[in-house]
Symmetry: C2
Subunit: 310 residues, 2 copies
């Protein structure tokens, strides 16, 4: 496995992969996305802040929290985390993205429990029924992905932005290009020799690593029409609350089976599938993994504390 | 130690003994009181429902939840627990006792997250600045205890009610008292012989075990004027957020030191002191325990999962 340095890091850490009923062995939904050492969170079930401590996730580097939907197992840990960030002396704003309906109860909780904090919580209402760019910085873009659940719900796609090209050191040396000009080269400039001839940028650089992407689909009924959005995603996390044996319950509760998650992965040509959001009835997730791998071999079963390189 | 059977059981189980900042090793405040197999909870910090599963506390037998004050480390787990009880198919009402201000935010959370549950959550507003009977059933009485913290806050005293007297089997046999009359004897009746002479009840019975009591004092500044209410309590849980070294911080934040907790225990002639609500700075609680034991030797340091007979 490639040992990414901080500038190349793009990884997801699973803090919780249980479903509605927490068990003694499994926490509700929460994940950490670390892209070039900037940290985002997806969903924040009860106990997430303790899981962050257990798995040594930086509180300070957390910038954005994306909430998929207003079921408790995806958001009951948020007010506790926000409150603890206040106690830790945070001053930088925290951005929370969630379904529009979430804003009212979040603001009321903030008022009741988090008065006088020294930092601001900025809520960004999401329209859950469209594929739409909702966040962008120098390193990444985040899109909503419309899912189908019992309440308004969206997934998220994290798309890395291209990094700058790599400098071909031997060419720089050959042409005697000074160090203070290298940033220009990285940003696309050509080099002009004393005789006026032009050394084109693509001679001086190598293209950057291809950009990577991560998609999070939880909670959702089997929904093949999301496949075009997921096409060629490097890593897809798709809920697999049930096994095929319980397809009918999955349908009734707007959840997916492991086989359905694998089918989405296969048809979207993703690089790797992570299944999770297991029903509390499965203490052993091996049968779910086996079911998915029959359809899509590059499947792994989420476990708490697991970090997956993207 | 006496092996209490269910009818004599009176015990407290510590689910969380941390303070405001949860750590990887310590959960925020929550305790379970089991009195004759009826279960009450005091405080409900984030993660309490997972702790109940870890320590195999019955969700079904839970009747009442007493919330001391509106700081997150004492109540952020409540909405998750309420929600899970709904998912488990509860139909019996759940009674929540807490500061009057808690009602509004609790109702709003219920509306946002717990619509369509098949059981009712009944809120009982508490006046936190008085000693007052707030709950009573056949087995126990619960009183509020005024504490001093940064927000309205009360402790709780659980007082066992007397059980019925024990029957002296040999006397019952001697006088040939029929089995269907024994309940009358237990409830205080005398027995009249054919010749009209009266066998007094106290000849036929032995007095029941003395009643027991448990007091919970967290969070609070050092407040000696609660001592009269605590007099002769069997077991006292008193917060000891800090050691004496940090007396000034304790004062500023309206918390107590281990020595102050021990002094309250000593002056109240309690049977046993449990200290807890440790600041996150103490990974090892031995120094706090040592400090308290110097003043009040019958002190134990709360640890998660510990059950103490009362």
């Amino acid at each position: 496995m490639i040992n990414h340095n901080d500038m190349e890091k793009f990884e997801v850490t699973i803090l919780g992969c249980g479903s509605a009923s927490p068990t003694a062995i499994r926490h509700p939904a929460a994940q950490i996305i670390n892209l070039r050492d900037k940290i985002s969170m997806i969903d924040c079930g009860e106990g997430t802040q303790m899981q962050m401590r257990t798995y040594k996730i930086s509180f300070q580097k957390l910038r954005n929290i994306f909430i998929s939907h207003m079921h408790g197992d995806h958001c009951f840990g948020l007010i506790g985390l926000i409150s603890s960030l206040g106690l830790l002396g945070r001053t930088a704003s925290l951005h929370v993205y969630g379904p529009a309906d979430f804003e009212d109860i979040l603001q009321r909780q903030l008022k009741a429990f988090c008065d006088n904090m020294e930092y601001e919580v900025i809520f960004h209402p999401l329209q859950t029924d469209t594929y739409k760019l909702v966040y962008e910085d120098r390193s990444m873009e985040v899109y909503t992905l419309p899912l189908q659940h019992r309440v308004p719900c969206c997934g998220f796609i994290f798309r890395e932005k291209p990094t700058l090209p790599h400098i071909r050191r031997e060419m720089i040396d050959y042409y005697g290009i000074p160090n203070n000009y290298i940033n220009h080269i990285k940003n696309g400039a050509d080099w002009i020799l004393p005789d006026g001839s032009i050394i084109r940028n693509d001679v001086l650089t190598l293209p950057p690593a291809p950009t990577r992407s991560y998609a999070y689909c939880s909670d959702t009924a089997y929904k093949p029409d999301i496949q075009p959005y997921l096409m060629d995603t490097d890593v897809l996390y798709h809920e697999a609350t049930f096994s095929t044996e319980h397809t009918e319950i999955a349908k009734q509760t707007y959840h997916s089976t492991a086989a359905q998650a694998a089918s989405i992965a296969l048809n979207s040509h993703v690089g790797k599938l992570i299944i999770g959001h297991y029903s509390a009835r499965y203490t052993d997730t091996a049968p779910l993994l086996e079911e998915a791998q029959k359809i899509f071999p590059a499947t792994i079963a989420a476990q708490e504390g697991m970090t997956i390189q993207i």
